[in-house]
């Protein structure tokens, strides 16, 4: 018996020791190893999918990562006002950008991830066409993040190849112009290998197209040519903008939509150039607490956030009365020019030229885009009349259920809402986020041509938009500075609440004035026979000059040698 045991034990001992190396050589069972990815076209494709997914979108929670209507003169964010207030009262610091700081982190991570693809596929032996397309897409996406970064921060570190852990990381900020040049260079490289629009269908639907490339190019050049970044007012820069727009128009792939309200729900609309689709999920907000910034991933719930309270929503952003006043009457006149009187009871200064405006029926006879973009008292929403009067269903009367979701200013954003959504739904909202659509570039082209002295062409492109089916506003005939104002005004109205305003007012250097206006609110009172309207100042705002660019996040300043923007 003893001998048997010894043999047995020696056996156990030797087997266990013999396989020691096998025991310790493990591989992850929840991930794909590096070797596998770059030799397999399907896996490279999956890698690119995730790069698309890194694109931020404008439906991010509250004020979100990309679009900023609540920190412009378009609207007032009634829930996040305290957080956004530092943007609207001149209080920005490098450590309080809160929701907005995350973009710096996310952008550079995405830039690295796209660069990894470019490096790993440089000598790829896989299907050449597919690889060129993937590389072009990665180039585009990297350029997109740089374009967004410089719009926020001015010049940023320009990184064209990936760092390794043991590298020296010190870098200077590249100049704004150099980053623009890089973006244009990269887009020029990418555009030929991106899809034609008619190829971007079926499995390819949603992928980047040549049109998207040209559009990003035009947008980047426009920002670079604008007063904020073109202090010498070089007309050469404006002609580059015009050329990029013409290249886009000459592709004849896009046309103005006949359905101004429906196009925001329809990524196949002929006007839509680039978009991001959503299905079946709520987004998820994560707070990266040690870094103090927010990330927002997955789907979105814009309908819940922007629906009126009476329909189960939160009315997160309220268009300001000031902005409501910007919508022309059908005769093409702005109805209200300003306000006088005490802050809690303001009197509107009516525009005598707007003869078709009745202060007792303020929402009648307005530019059709008004009703498509905003909901207000008496508007029909989901088959019922909106009730902004106290204690109407959508008001803030304390007796109303969820009264804190009643609109503070008595308005809500309607543009791009999906009225078929209901708050009992278990799903997130489904509408696409539209990054770019043709009318933006008509207006861009008009602005460029104005600066190049071709006022007729400028008016023509503005009027094309005003004349679009379903809008049919009278044409403009202004010239000189008045024409520039008209172009800016058209851009404000046409692209309202799509996130352009924050970029536009800043690049025009108008933000110091426009974003310093007090937020005017409306209170509706209903009696048995009539309604009355009281206007009041909800919030005063200011916009110091240093706000034109944001401070670099404190976290980055502490970790690098980068120079902070002036004034922070």
């Amino acid at each position: 018996m003893k001998t048997t045991f010894y043999i047995l034990l020696i056996f156990i001992l030797s087997t266990t020791v013999a396989c020691e190396n096998d025991i310790l050589n493990l591989t992850p069972l929840d991930a794909v190893s590096e070797g596998a990815v770059w030799d397999d076209l399907d896996l490279v494709n999956l890698y690119v999918n995730a790069r698309y997914n890194e694109l931020p979108h404008g439906f991010s929670k509250w004020a979100g990562g990309l679009r900023f209507t609540g920190i412009t003169d378009e609207s007032y964010h009634q829930h996040e006002q305290p957080h956004l207030r530092k943007h609207t009262n001149g209080g920005l610091t490098s450590d309080n950008l809160f929701f907005f700081n995350g973009f710096w982190f996310d952008a550079y991570e995405a830039i690295r991830n796209n660069t990894i693809l470019l490096e790993q596929t440089e000598t790829s032996e896989l299907d050449a066409d597919k690889i060129s397309q993937f590389r072009a897409e990665a180039r585009y996406l990297r350029a997109y993040f740089y374009a967004e970064l410089i719009s926020r921060y001015g010049g940023v570190p320009l990184i064209e190849s990936t760092f390794q852990l043991e590298d020296d990381f010190s870098l200077e900020r590249a100049r704004y112009e150099d980053v623009v040049a890089f973006i244009i260079k990269e887009l020029d490289l990418a555009i030929p290998d991106l899809l034609d629009r008619n190829k971007a269908v079926g499995e390819q639907f949603g992928r980047l197209t040549k049109g998207a490339g040209l559009a990003l190019k035009a947008r980047t050049l426009l920002y670079a040519a604008s007063p904020l970044n073109n202090q010498q007012n070089s007309t050469e820069k404006w002609s580059e903008v015009a050329l990029a727009c013409e290249a886009l128009f000459e592709r004849n792939e896009y046309s103005l939509s006949g359905d101004y309200s429906g196009l925001f729900l329809n990524p196949s609309d002929p006007e839509v150039i680039f978009f991001k689709q959503f299905i079946d999920e709520f987004g998820e907000e994560t707070s990266n607490s040690p870094e103090g910034y927010y990330q927002y991933t997955g789907g979105h719930r814009i309908d819940e956030w922007r629906f009126p309270n009476g329909s189960g929503g939160w009315v997160s952003e309220n268009p300001t009365q000031n902005f409501i006043d910007q919508y022309e009457t059908l005769s093409g006149e702005i109805p209200v020019l300003g306000y006088t009187g005490s802050d809690d009871n303001l009197q509107p200064i009516l525009n005598p030229a707007a003869t078709d405006y009745d202060p007792a029926r303020p929402y009648d006879n307005r530019d059709p885009r008004f009703a498509f973009s905003v909901y207000h008292d008496e508007a029909i929403f989901k088959g019922r009349e909106i009730e902004m009067w106290n204690p109407g269903k959508d008001s803030r009367d304390p007796s109303v259920d969820f009264w804190w979701n009643g609109s503070v200013l008595s308005y809500g954003i309607r543009k791009s809402l999906d009225e078929s959504w209901s708050f009992e739904s278990n799903f997130g909202s489904q509408q696409p986020w539209i990054y770019m659509r043709l009318s933006e570039f008509y207006l861009t082209y008009a602005e460029a041509q104005y600066h190049l002295g071709r006022e007729d062409l400028a008016r023509d492109y503005v009027n094309r938009i005003r004349a679009r089916q379903g809008v049919n506003m009278p044409p403009i005939d202004a010239s000189g500075l008045a024409l520039l104002d008209k172009i800016k005004h058209e851009r404000k109205i046409e692209l309202a609440f799509e996130g352009n305003r924050w970029y536009d007012a800043r690049r025009w250097r108008d933000a110091e004035i426009d974003f310093s206006q007090s937020v005017i609110g409306l209170e509706v009172t209903k009696t048995a026979t009539a309604k009355s309207y009281r206007f009041y100042v909800e919030e005063t705002r200011s916009y110091p000059e240093n706000h034109y660019v944001w401070p670099l996040p404190i976290q980055e300043i502490l970790r690098s040698n980068l120079e902070q923007n002036p004034g922070y």
Binding site: M1, K2, F5, I12, L13, T16, V17, I23, L24, N25, L26, P28, L29, A31, V32, S33, E34, L43, L46, Y47, N49, A50, Y52, N53, P82, R85, N89, G91, T93, F105, Y108, E109, R112, N113, I159, F163, L165, L171, V201, G202, Q204, F205, G206, R207, S268, K276, Q277, F278, I279, D280, D401, W403, F423, E424, N426, F427, I554, E556, L558, R559
Partner: protein, 1105 residues
């Protein structure tokens, strides 16, 4: 056999433990396995020196009464490889005595002439302990008939026996004494304490050691102390009892009560939890859920003594040893307890009047018209319409005042020379505090530890333990659920008059806590098994043995989350109808997940134990390997046919999800130890471990971990003579230990698959590949160098025993991402790198005192004190941050906070100071630390103390008066602090009552004026919200009464013990007041710690044939 009768009686009482009976009756047998063989040579040895030699080499202990024995005569003795009985036989003829060997006790008696076998005599006597204290309740058994009596209150007994029979006198905790009754009819029996503290056997890593020869810092806790608190969470039973072991109970939720356990504080910025080793197997996890009655002892290895666990032991090790069988009398013990629990502190939220006042004050402060002036007046006048303007105490609506907790525990312990067994079972049922649905935790634990002497030199052991822990809880996480209670507006109704659940503006929490909106179930099922052997190889080489084990631990964790529609009503004032909003509450959806884990440990060890005259050597070398394979699957379905069929098949295909992945881990270790002592006076221990961990790349995988410790027992020196100091030992240790607890595979670049971008007109979600962390090819374990200096002393034996220790530890190569110095623009997701250095130092003191005042009354006092202070020596942080924000030089867990300087009393003070732009009178005045004229992140400072206490201490008192006992245990801590800061709609009324109103009314207010979460004076966390976590509490109190009357024997009952106990009884003092001072939850959104009042009964049945 009477035993069987006893068992059947028990069976009918406690059905669910029938399994123990079957096993028991089949192994109740008696046999005489020859004890191990021993060898020694002694020249001119006295009887005493021979005895000492045998006691050292074997587990045998001699018992004899000096006086009649010849202690002067000396003999030369030479025994080679002889059985103990042969040796004793030889000695008995040499020295002239009779003897009796029972288990490991050798009873030496005076040689007497053989008695008249049939003479019936009555024997009377007294039973004393070693301090001459009478012992009531001692058992006196006539071994020939197995009839017995117990001693009465005066320790007196009387028994009629046949002359020549052997009486066995036993008492719990004392060595059994046997005496052959010849002519004496009056006996005085002195029972000796079984394991007097001095000679206690202590479990250390991979073995046991006698306490006197231990050189490391090892603290132990024995079973009696462990079961004193009747809590379900074992770690609660350890808190405060062991010096150096810092345990904080962060919450009290049944089945998932969080405890934070550290040995000597936190010494790393990484994972600081100690290694838990259960019956020799690391990685068994969740020791909190073990049945406290199964625990024989807990050892805490605090210094280099843990070096034998190598790359995983840098945070120290806690060794849990479960009970095993004992040969001799078998004891069946049944324990039941019923407890009621309530939070140690419940939150008192603002009532309706306070709440509305608060909201209006906020408005007025922000220059807005107040909304609720009319309602406030109504509340004051009592004219509020209770249907619309109610006053609801949401905490009381949501939770019960007391929640029950039931435990049943049964164990059977005994055995023969051949087979020893310990069998046990536990049933635990804990209710959660919420009203309604049966949320809570149910646990079933079973254990079977068997030891079988297969052959003379071969032993095996089979240990099996199974546990099922079922937790049912709300769909919301605990934090969310408690928050849901907090955020209710107190003026809303929870239910209408007719009992219908009311819809509230923030979502009535009752549907979440009574289960009507669904539930989460998790069932944790595990089987731990261990098969071990011990082969005595003394035929090859004297003192050599081979032992080993294989452990297979299988875990299955099943989770299920079901959401369902529920009734919730809205009263329409116009129609006066209650409208059911059920349709708005969603559909029946199900999520399921299962995780499985198989952990395999193999261990093989050669032991060599040998004594050469005054030198003894105890060594081993071993090989161990550990592998773990895990896998999880999850799936969900929407729109189930019915909530009554909570399975995937009953859901729809659309919107279904499923997922699964695997994981693995492995470790390989070679290690050994040498223990050497010279006359038990000079002690030395050397350990060496060579560890390989799959967490690291091939070239960084193996590491060498040495440990040395030395001891000197000064009292053993011939020059040391003291009447008072009976034991004095100095110890020193040094060791290098490791910590490999970081994410696996950080040396590889890999890509995670995740749901990704949506393409195609019909919106198809694709998969995407996301790069994992940037690989670090050089990653390896953290290294800890630990130094320990200790002094053990005893004054007058048990009168005063103490341990004093100084420790220092330096942890280097701490794994942490370089996320403070690597620019963000690099785009890395940073892996851990070996960069940090932390040192940790402190003092521990343990003092115990036992005393006997009168024959009826004894008491004991125990105390322990620990001071531990950690300090970061290097951590990745930006170079240009101000000194007062540097983590270097501060504790590992830190609080970075604004300094508050009171409250602004008026606008002038604001204008004259640096403040946030929105500052108003009544807001917090912040200190502009860097004097740059603005308040921002740079003005925050790091505080010296964090929520981990630097000082922890415990005080225990035990009193015994006849059969009545009382135990008290106080636990305390100091030098700890946390911020407590309310958040969201409603909050503790404490903040209302102590708020600033105006400079006239409340110039000395503690808290700012009615604030909203968006106010900068609230959002920027400042020292205003800081509270000290120091406290002293009566952690346990127990009153017990032991009934051991002879009449009980008729029913086979040896003793009955009744106990009333309390756990977390009250705070002697503390500073937090609104929460339990052990909570570190800022907001109070956590499951509160529980106070437990328990009535328990313990019945012991003894094998009386």
């Amino acid at each position: 056999m009477s035993l069987k009768i006893n068992i059947s009686v028990i069976k009918s009482r406690v059905k669910f433990f029938f399994f123990t009976c079957i096993v028991f009756s089949s192994i109740h047998a008696n046999s005489n396995t020859p004890p191990p063989k021993i060898s020694f040579h002694l020249e001119q040895a006295t009887f005493s020196s021979i005895v000492r030699e045998i006691e050292r080499q074997t587990p045998f202990v001699f018992s004899f009464e000096a006086g009649w024995l010849d202690l002067e005569t000396k003999f030369d003795v030479a025994y080679n490889d002889m059985e103990i009985e042969e040796i004793i036989d030889d000695l008995s003829s040499k020295f002239g005595f009779d003897y009796k060997i029972e288990n490991t006790y050798i009873q030496i008696t005076k040689r007497n002439p053989p008695p008249d076998p049939l003479q019936q005599i009555t024997v009377t006597g007294y039973v004393y302990d070693e301090f001459k204290v009478l012992l009531p309740g001692a058992t006196i058994i006539d071994k020939s008939t197995n009839q017995g009596v117990t001693s009465d209150f005066n320790g007196f007994f009387s028994i009629s026996v046949d002359s020549g029979t052997v009486l066995s006198i036993s008492y719990i905790g004392y060595k059994t004494f046997e005496i052959e009754v010849l002519n004496e009819t009056e006996l005085e029996v002195n029972l000796e304490i079984k394991a007097s503290k001095l000679n206690e056997i202590v479990v250390v890593g991979y073995g046991t050691q006698k306490k006197p020869t231990i050189t490391g810092s090892v603290a132990t806790l024995q079973s009696n102390d462990i079961v004193e608190s009747q809590t379900a969470n074992l770690s609660n039973n350890l808190a405060g009892r062991v010096s150096g072991l810092v345990i904080n109970t962060r919450g009290g939720e049944p089945g998932s009560d969080d405890t934070q356990i550290n040995i000597r504080g936190i010494g790393t910025t990484g994972d600081s939890s100690p290694l838990i080793v259960i019956d020799g197997i690391p990685s068994r996890g969740s020791f909190e859920r073990l049945n406290p009655n199964d625990i024989e002892s807990v050892s805490v290895l605090k210094d280099a003594s843990a070096a034998i666990y190598g790359a995983r032991a840098a945070n120290g090790a806690i060794l849990i040893t479960t009970k095993r069988g004992k040969s001799g009398v078998s004891i069946l013990s049944y324990n039941t307890s019923y407890s009621v629990a309530q939070p140690t502190r419940r939150p008192f939220l603002m009532n309706a009047l306070q709440y509305l006042t608060w909201i209006d004050e906020q408005k007025i402060r922000n220059g807005r018209p107040p909304d609720f002036q009319d309602q406030i007046q109504d509340y004051i006048d009592g004219t509020n319409d209770p249907m619309k303007w109610a006053d609801t105490d949401w905490w009381a609506e949501s939770t019960d005042l007391w929640t029950p907790e039931i435990q049943h525990k049964l164990s059977l312990r005994g055995g023969s020379e051949k087979i020893k067994y310990f069998l046990s079972g536990q049933y635990l049922d804990q209710d959660a505090i919420y009203k309604g649905k049966d949320y809570g935790y149910k646990q079933y634990n079973i254990r079977s530890n068997l030891d079988i002497q297969v052959a003379e030199n071969f032993k095996i052991a089979v240990d099996l333990a199974g546990r099922v822990g079922n937790r049912t809880s709300s769909l919301l996480s605990t934090d969310q659920l408690i928050r849901q209670i907090f955020v209710q507006t107190p003026y809303e109704l929870s239910r209408y008059d007719n009992g219908l659940l009311a819809k509230t503006s923030t979502g009535n929490p009752i549907s979440s806590l009574d289960g009507s909106n669904g539930y989460k179930e998790s069932s944790n099922r595990r089987i731990d098994s261990k098969f071990s052997f011990d082969l005595n190889l003394s035929t090859l080489l004297d003192g050599l043995s081979l032992s080993g084990y294989a452990a297979f631990d299988y875990y299955l964790n099943i989770r299920k989350e079901l959401t369902q529609p529920f009734d919730q009503f809205f009263f329409d004032e116009n129609t006066e109808e209650y409208i059911n909003l059920r349709d708005q509450t969603g559909t029946v959806n199900l999520f399921q997940q299962s995780d499985t884990d198989l952990n395999i440990t193999y261990h093989l060890r050669f032991n060599y134990k040998k004594s050469f005259q005054d030198h003894s050597l105890n060594t081993f070398i071993a090989y161990e390997q550990y592998t773990r394979e895990g896998e999880f699957l999850s799936a969900s379905r929407k729109n189930l046919v019915s909530a009554e069929i909570p399975f995937l098949f009953s859901g729809q295909d659309t919107g279904q999800t499923n997922n699964g992945e695997g994981s693995q881990e492995a470790r390989v270790n070679y290690f050994g130890r040498i223990n050497y002592d010279y006359k038990e006076k000079y002690l030395a221990e050397f350990t060496l471990r060579y560890d390989g961990s799959a967490n690291f790349p091939e070239n960084q995988r193996f590491g060498l971990f040495p440990g040395v410790s030395l001891g000197w027992r000064i009292t053993e020196e011939p020059f040391f003579k003291s009447e008072y100091i009976t034991n004095l030992k100095a110890r020193f240790s040094w060791g290098k230990l490791g910590n490999d607890r970081v994410d696996n595979f950080q040396y590889l670049q890999f890509y995670n698959i995740e749901p990704s971008y949506i393409f195609q007109e019909n919106k198809q979600r694709t998969q995407g590949l996301l790069p994992g962390d940037t690989p670090n090819a050089n990653i390896t374990w953290e290294t800890a160098s630990k130094y320990n200096l200790g002094i053990d002393f005893n004054i007058k034996g048990r009168q005063l025993a103490g341990v004093f220790e100084l420790f220092y530890e330096r942890r280097s190569d701490i794994l942490a991402p370089r996320n403070q110095s690597v620019p963000i623009y690099t785009g890395f997701s940073l892996p851990d790198e070996n960069i940090g250095i932390v040192n940790n130092r402190g003092v521990e003191l343990q003092l115990n005192h036992n005393n006997q005042i009168t024959q009826d009354f004894s008491y004991s006092i125990g105390s322990q004190f620990t001071f531990a202070k950690s300090e970061i020596e290097f951590i990745d942080e930006p170079s240009d941050i101000p000194d007062y924000q540097k983590r270097t030089g501060n504790p590992v867990d830190f609080i970075l906070i604004y300094q508050a300087d009171g409250l602004y009393q008026n606008q002038a003070e604001i204008d004259d100071s640096v403040s946030f732009p929105d500052a108003k009178p009544g807001d917090i005045r912040f200190v502009d630390k860097n004097g740059d004229g603005k308040i921002d992140d740079n003005d925050r400072i790091i505080l010296e103390n964090s929520s981990t206490p630097k000082i922890t201490y415990g005080l225990s008192f035990g009193f015994q008066w006849n059969n009545l006992g009382m135990n008290l245990f106080f636990q305390g801590q100091a030098l700890a602090q946390s911020t407590y800061r309310p958040f969201d709609l409603n909050q503790q009324s404490f903040y209302f009552e102590n708020r600033w109103i105006s400079n006239r009314e409340t110039p000395n207010a503690t808290y700012p004026a009615a604030f909203s979460p968006s106010d900068s004076s609230f959002r920027n966390i400042s020292t205003v919200w800081l509270k000290s976590n120091e406290f002293l509490k009566l952690k346990n109190i127990e009153f017990s009464y032991l009934l051991n009357k002879p009449f009980l024997n008729r029913y086979g009952i040896e003793s009955l013990r009744f106990a009333l106990s309390g756990h977390n009884v009250f705070f002697v003092y503390d500073k937090v007041k609104i929460n339990d001072p052990e909570s570190s939850s800022q907001t109070g959104w956590y499951y509160p710690q529980q106070r437990l009042l328990t009535a328990g009964i313990n019945v012991k049945f003894k094998d009386l044939k």
